[in-house]
Symmetry: C2
Subunit: 455 residues, 2 copies
């Protein structure tokens, strides 16, 4: 075998033509969505009112292992994919470890993250269905940016409800979305009933993701030829993100790389689910024994300290109920938390796989995460997104363990994006003002108290 | 020939092992640097006091066509190179042009531009010489970031004098440099004699690049084991940037792409000089007839309206005199100018080639540049740096001309970087507040009046 290059790029011909649907392989499926009014499983018709039809079909598809990626989407992917699988030679050297470290780097497109993989697909299907408008919410702005890029490419109108405090604190994220032609409305706004209601009750609120979701859904349902799109959590989003794992597996096979361990950060779970998809499927089928680790912030520990229960997807309690690991839709992470991955729940697929023992979860504190991120940036060059640095931190921990034990493990992690728009968080780490926060059991009980009582 | 992929990545084995020294091929060489006190050519000894010895040697080398890239630098390059040569299929489609359009994209590293190509080399030579400190100045911050990344990699201390108003307006650029371990001092500062003098005379000044250069040089000369490094203009910087052209030429040969036209933006001239190097050398030797076009802002038109004369490199008048196209070191572009490329002069090599008729120059207005940048972003995905969009604008103009004439030209341009840190400029375009500025002849005369009277 030739020396592994620093960066493995697949050729266009080697790019995967299929997404990988883990559900087709899972021994038990995630529980169905429930209608919160009736507690009955949601029908496709109900979901079709909010989401594009083809996405609903993908959401409910648990039989087809491979779903063909339409040529039009593959052409869009070619503009920013394949993403490189990088051998972290410099990190290995810095850590003086016998381990081999690889990372799949999703940050080379302008949205700065993996989010574009699903945006490219979702907007394609919306266009195909003849829709003319899409709505969504965005907090940090990565999803809003990715969606604006895809909407510009397919020429379809986009309205982004952006958490007001985030729109004010991150004017550049707002500017990127607008540059790609998206309309950004700070939320809560007077453009929706729910927004006006919230503003009447609390005129000075900075908004919340829950409220932004509710506004986006309201507008989608009231506007002709319009639908709502979501950037994580749902099964079809994980499906689109499986392009990450599919490319990674192809590259590993080409260069005879056999990971002992795959590590990803998990907020809503879409990048993690996408990265592990084909590897997890093989694991379920007994073809490998790869250790698979989801990393979350200690301040928002849905897998490691949450409950496996039906819950709402949003704090506004407007979505269907999903069975997942959750801290309760009323859980609010510490305002000091700067590392992203703030979602109260977790993808139902990932939750089910975790429940069934197919993966581990670890929680890490943010100052350790930023410490790892900066060490990585200085030796490997790339400034990671704080989210991505959660996976990096555990990969480094494991590589250091290998040094202690002398084991020559192959560690692969997902570097989901870049930190160019997260520099205020780096600044607070650099100037020593960043703190850690681990919720007490009492804090968590407050969140659990907001869980719905499903009969 | 197979279909050209969207992105051409060379393999590690195909990466160039040599920089291309255009001076070895030029029929006439650029005039030597002059000592401003004596008007005599600068000696290597004089230059060695300010710059690293090996860089001085490269600066003065006009005999070796190929300069080997040391293995250590090639290993650093492997972390962020090869950069892709992209076929702009979507742009071609949008413009409905028979032309084929390609761009060499240098924005995939954290510094966001080509600057890292020279930083990687300069810091390596500094380390090899046993230096422990480097100083530089930065305005917009791309060079400071690239240098901080290289200094982190080679573990050498860095002090960056950052124009005070820029440090205040671009706190995130400052934060990136600090995250990589660089020390950022807003200039003018009380850390140097020249800084203290300026502050005494004008306590509220926002600083200037000229002042920051003077402070950086003063500290380098007074500190043991320290040197000053510069990110553009000089011959050795163009040499390092020839990696861009070398990769481009290799990729073109591999896929039988024969550019009719190569277009680059030109501020100090280093990316432009690097992109064209091997193509220009062939042109000088009669092996091709490629049209080579440098694009500059209409508001800072050094090639199109400047004088070919000896001038200082900085507004503080501390550098050796260089024979170049210049607007005079006292020329100040309009404060409304948001598109970068604000340098008053131009690389002596590029100036000489222009003087000798080997290349064209065009000046473009910034609102047209941003209009092109946004059209490009929306169809090709990548948000360009405003600097890079100058080249893009002319490439688009030429592709539109091809549509009119029916010519099937092959147009290649340099997309030097991304606009993630330039969003305030995009915002001013988006909200309609951006204006154009073309200096009057009287404006230019004021700059020319600051040219030194070389006997």
């Amino acid at each position: 075998m030739a020396k592994i290059p620093y960066k493995i790029y697949l050729s266009e011909e080697e790019m995967p033509k299929y997404w990988y649907n883990m559900k087709a392989v899972m021994k038990e499926l995630p529980a169905p969505f429930l209608n919160p009014a009736t507690y009955k499983p949601c029908t496709a018709e109900e979901l079709n009112q909010v989401f594009c039809s083809e996405l609903v079909e993908q959401e409910l598809n648990s039989s087809d292992r491979y779903i063909e990626i339409p040529e039009e989407i593959r052409n869009f992917y070619k503009m920013f994919r394949p993403s490189p699988l990088v051998r972290a030679y410099c990190l290995e050297k810095m850590l003086d470890t016998p381990a081999e470290i690889y990372y799949k780097f999703e940050g080379t497109n302008t949205s700065g993250s993996h989010k574009l993989n699903s945006a490219a697909a979702q907007v394609y299907y919306a266009k195909k269905q003849g829709l003319t408008n899409l709505t969504t919410e965005t907090g940090a702005g990565q999803w809003g940016t990715a969606l604006a890029m895809a909407c510009a490419y397919y020429q379809i109108a986009l309205t982004v409800y952006m958490v007001k405090v985030s729109a004010e604190q991150k004017p550049y994220r707002k500017a990127v979305i607008e540059t790609y032609g998206g309309r950004v409305i700070p939320s809560p706004s007077d453009t929706t009933e729910i927004g006006r209601k919230i503003l009447r009750e609390n005129p000075n609120t900075g908004g919340s993701l829950g409220c932004a979701i509710s506004e986006a859904i309201e507008v989608a349902m009231k506007t002709e030829n319009s639908r709502y799109v979501l950037g994580s959590v749902l099964d079809h989003v994980l499906l689109h993100q499986s392009i990450i794992g599919q490319e990674t597996k192809t590259a590993c096979e080409k260069y005879e790389i056999q990971p002992d361990m795959i590590i990803g950060c998990a907020g809503g779970g879409s990048n993690f689910g996408g990265l592990i998809a084909p590897f997890m499927a093989d694991k379920i089928e007994g073809k490998n024994k790869i250790e698979i680790i989801a990393v979350e912030p200690a301040s928002c520990p849905s897998l490691t300290r949450g409950k496996f229960a039906y819950d709402f997807g949003d704090t506004g309690k407007t979505t269907p109920l999903m069975k997942m690991y959750t801290l309760g839709s009323g859980f609010i992470p510490s305002p000091n938390h700067a590392g992203g991955l703030r979602y109260h729940g977790m993808s139902p697929i990932i939750s089910k796989l975790y429940q069934d023992g197919y993966l581990e979860a670890r929680a890490v504190e943010q100052t350790k995460v930023f410490e790892a991120a900066i060490a990585f940036a200085r030796c490997e060059g790339t400034l990671p997104a704080p989210e991505s640095a959660h996976a990096l931190k555990v990969a480094m921990d494991e590589a250091i363990k290998c040094k202690e034990t002398g084991e020559k493990k192959t560690i692969l992690f997902g570097l989901t994006g870049t930190g160019y728009f997260d520099l205020s968080a780096y600044m607070s780490y650099n100037n020593g003002s960043m703190t850690d926060y681990i919720p007490t059991d009492e804090d968590l009980e407050k969140g659990f108290a907001t869980l719905p009582q499903v009969k």
